[in-house]
Symmetry: C2
Subunit: 337 residues, 2 copies
């Protein structure tokens, strides 16, 4: 059903928008017969001005908040482009909210979203907790979470456009088991803990099914410089696993550079894959294998889903969860055999 | 002078915010003596509710629009972080507007900014024209342009936080002249045409002063893949200049990779520098020399300047142009001698 707007009321009562606005706001400067005509039109059409609509009657547009971690701007830029392009098509305003360590927590962001009375929210699923998500639920703001799968989703009012990282890790590790390779490390990415959690579950599940235990979840300060320094020292005494899985490009690049310095041959002695594809993986030598996700499409699909939720589209009432596929990209750091 | 708000009026008249709002909006449900008390408070304090403030009296916060090209998200992420952090300190809402080829032009963005009645604008200086800038002037929206220097700035109401790319190129080229190197190429970056224009002017000026003419402004499809393909073919018949200046990291990486494939030694046979520093320049081999700008600070300074312009701070009336320094970072692709 089309939402009745102040424009419809003005047309029905044959008055200007300003006049309708004055009647709604109980202004004294409206003639009594005009006031009655407008009120009849409001009743006939079932128009329901709310507190916000009263103030913004003439300028109200749909506003969407995008919430993401500051650290992840550069990695999520294509998803953001997809979101922005669809938002433009629908003439939405975009409010940007960022979270960053020490300066602003999800709590503050949520408060700011509620205060600014946005119509919908797009959340990047990196690091927020279930409780934080639930606070937004309380306010009944339609919301789409983009990135990884929300686990134990209780509320049907939240959409989710996601990559199934658990399945990805499970299938990838199994493909290496088939090659006879079982010495596998998974390197933690502190910027993407929810993704890491799911990857780890997938790896553990694959090991469990073969009656083995997964023990090489590697965690250290994961910036490029400290990764590189750590690995360079580490390789003086220890050999890397046969297969090393990292999440971000910089972790994989630190790994191949440290291997190079230590004289460890990639992919002959150790293979490495970065989960998140990035243009730089093609630019370094050796080029680094990874998984391709349709980032731009993910953003576009997430915003489209939210537009449907905002108008209570029947189609999205049943299913608000959209899984996005991925493809493996074989480059020089992994072997086919 | 502190701006008088509806809060001050409520305090002065000893009534609730809602009551003040009702009086301003000519509601009938206010008792006559209360109405008079509120109106006296309004007159005493000189409070001036405007059309927007009336509607939003209880929720109005300052809103800033950030305008940038979609293509540049990943490159400007640190500037964006600086902008966002300062905006948070001042409790500003941030509206994000992006420009992208084909989908939304500056024209549309300007219209959307004006319609949404933002209080101020931060513009990334990449690709907009003087005329577009002037349209925003017309609407008297305080504005800070961040990035490169605005040339022929007519309006005193526009702030500019910038790197002087002309000076940078002029000084850098002169330092190579002193080493006896005059065969220099400058590679165009189509994403940053205003920066390129200024770099080119600096190089040309240096050549001119030595009685020479600068002729190697190189322009081709500048994505990584096409740069790499172009250069690989080019190097079959031609040698690169003694010094090659690129703007973005991916152009410099394409160059060193193509050199490697062609057996051209860097920095022995050709040297290369990328103007814009990026973490990936440290990760590739050889590591690529560049210029470091305090990106995060640029963003923080730009937003701070805008906050001052919004309150008509005396200090910024005189000078709204802030030049940001840079430092040269010597890495493996350039020689010291």
């Amino acid at each position: 059903m089309k939402r009745i707007t102040i424009y419809d009321v003005a047309k029905e009562a044959d008055v200007s928008l300003a006049t309708v606005s004055r009647v709604i706001n109980d202004s004294n400067v409206v003639r009594e017969d005009t006031r009655i005509r407008v009120q009849e039109a409001i009743e006939k059409l079932g128009y329901k001005p709310n507190a916000i609509a009263q103030g913004l009657a003439l300028s109200k547009t749909t506003t969407i908040s995008i919430v993401m971690s500051e650290k992840l701007f550069s990695y999520n830029s294509k998803i953001l482009n997809g979101l922005m392009d669809v938002a433009k098509i629908y003439n939405y305003n975009i409010m940007l909210h960022t979270t960053s360590k020490g300066i602003s927590k999800m709590q503050d962001v949520i408060e700011s979203i509620v205060k600014s009375r946005v119509d919908g929210v797009i959340l990047f699923n990196d690091n927020f907790s279930e409780e934080e998500l639930e606070v937004l639920h309380l306010y009944q703001i339609p919301m789409v979470v983009v990135g990884s799968k929300i686990e134990d989703k209780k509320d049907g009012n939240v959409g989710n456009v996601y990559i199934d990282f658990e399945k990805l890790a499970y299938e990838f590790v199994n493909s290496y088991f088939e090659k006879g390779i079982t010495d596998i490390s998974l390197v933690e990415d502190k910027l993407n803990l929810s993704m890491m959690h799911q990857l780890r579950q997938g790896v553990e599940k694959a090991y469990q099914e073969k009656g083995m235990k997964f023990e090489k979840y590697i965690t250290y300060d994961d910036t490029y410089r400290s990764s590189y320094d750590f690995l360079t020292e580490y390789f003086e005494t220890t050999k890397p696993s046969e297969l090393v899985i990292t999440f971000r490009d910089s972790q994989a690049i630190a790994f191949i550079n440290a291997c190079h310095e230590a004289g460890i041959k990639v992919p002959e002695e150790t293979q490495v894959v970065a989960i998140l594809d990035d243009k730089y993986l093609r630019m370094v030598r050796p080029t680094i294998s990874s998984f391709n996700f349709p980032d731009y499409d993910m953003g576009a699909i997430a915003m489209r889903l939210l537009t449907k939720m905002l108008v209570n589209d029947e189609a999205v009432k049943e299913n608000k969860d959209i899984e996005i596929g991925y493809t493996y990209i074989q480059r020089q750091t992994t072997r086919l055999d």
